[in-house]
């Protein structure tokens, strides 16, 4: 499942609920999950707020495609991707990726790949508000490898 939410999300509730309804749960031996959270600093500066802009007609489609690529490439049982858009506060979850597979290798690799693909293939942009009230677009992602 893919969810784009403009309201606050509860990653652990989302993951628990999604796992509970997985089909063939007895064939799942591994779950690897990632949660991206809003930090109070970025590139050396204090950050007090963030807005996530999306390309509404395209974001969900890109996330669906990403999710299917993960299931295919890593032979997952299932995957969940949830992404916040709109105005976020410090400590808010930004993104949740859940990957379920028979063995741990696939779940770990899919989860990590999901974040890299998300950071190149999904039309989302972060705009930060700094402590002095100024705003700036985030220009680059932190390296994932």
């Amino acid at each position: 499942m893919v969810i784009v939410s403009d309201a606050a999300i509860d990653p652990y509730q989302l993951l628990a609920n999604y796992e509970a309804q997985l089909s063939a749960r007895g064939s799942v031996g591994a779950a690897a999950h990632f949660i991206g959270l809003m930090r109070e600093f970025n590139e050396g500066d204090d950050v007090v707020g963030m807005t996530l802009e999306q390309y509404p007609e395209m974001t969900r489609r890109a996330l669906d495609k990403l999710r299917l690529s993960l299931i295919d490439d890593f032979e997952l049982n299932d995957a969940l991707i949830v992404h916040r858009v709109g105005a976020l506060q410090i400590t808010d979850p930004i993104v949740v990726v859940g990957c379920w597979s028979a063995h741990r290798k696939a779940a770990f690799e899919a989860c990590r790949a999901a974040m890299e693909r998300l950071k190149s293939d999904v039309p989302l942009w972060k705009k930060e508000t700094l402590a002095d009230g100024s705003t700036r677009w985030v220009e680059q992602n932190t390296p994932g490898y």
Binding site: G36, Y55, M58, I94, W125
Partner: protein, 76 residues
């Protein structure tokens, strides 16, 4: 007509989120990009999508298409 959309930083720099332009024979994404972003004020790279799918500059466009321009993505 072709609908041209601007997202994130580009929307602010262009000053609006979309406009319509006339389609021309043999037109590519690069032609439209040139029209809007030839000024030095625009930081490169600028990415693009055709009808809600990522594409490259050489992609041909025609009447009724939706073209979007945006900076490198920074979600996740």
């Amino acid at each position: 007509m072709i609908e041209v959309k601007f997202l994130a930083r580009l929307k602010e720099e262009i000053g609006q989120d979309s406009m319509e332009i006339a389609a021309r024979d043999g037109m590519t994404i690069a032609d439209i990009k040139q029209q809007f972003f030839s000024d030095a004020q625009f930081q490169l790279p600028i990415l693009q999508a055709l009808n809600h799918e990522f594409c490259d500059e050489t992609t041909a466009v025609s009447d009724g298409d939706i073209v979007a321009f945006f900076p490198p993505v920074t979600g996740g």
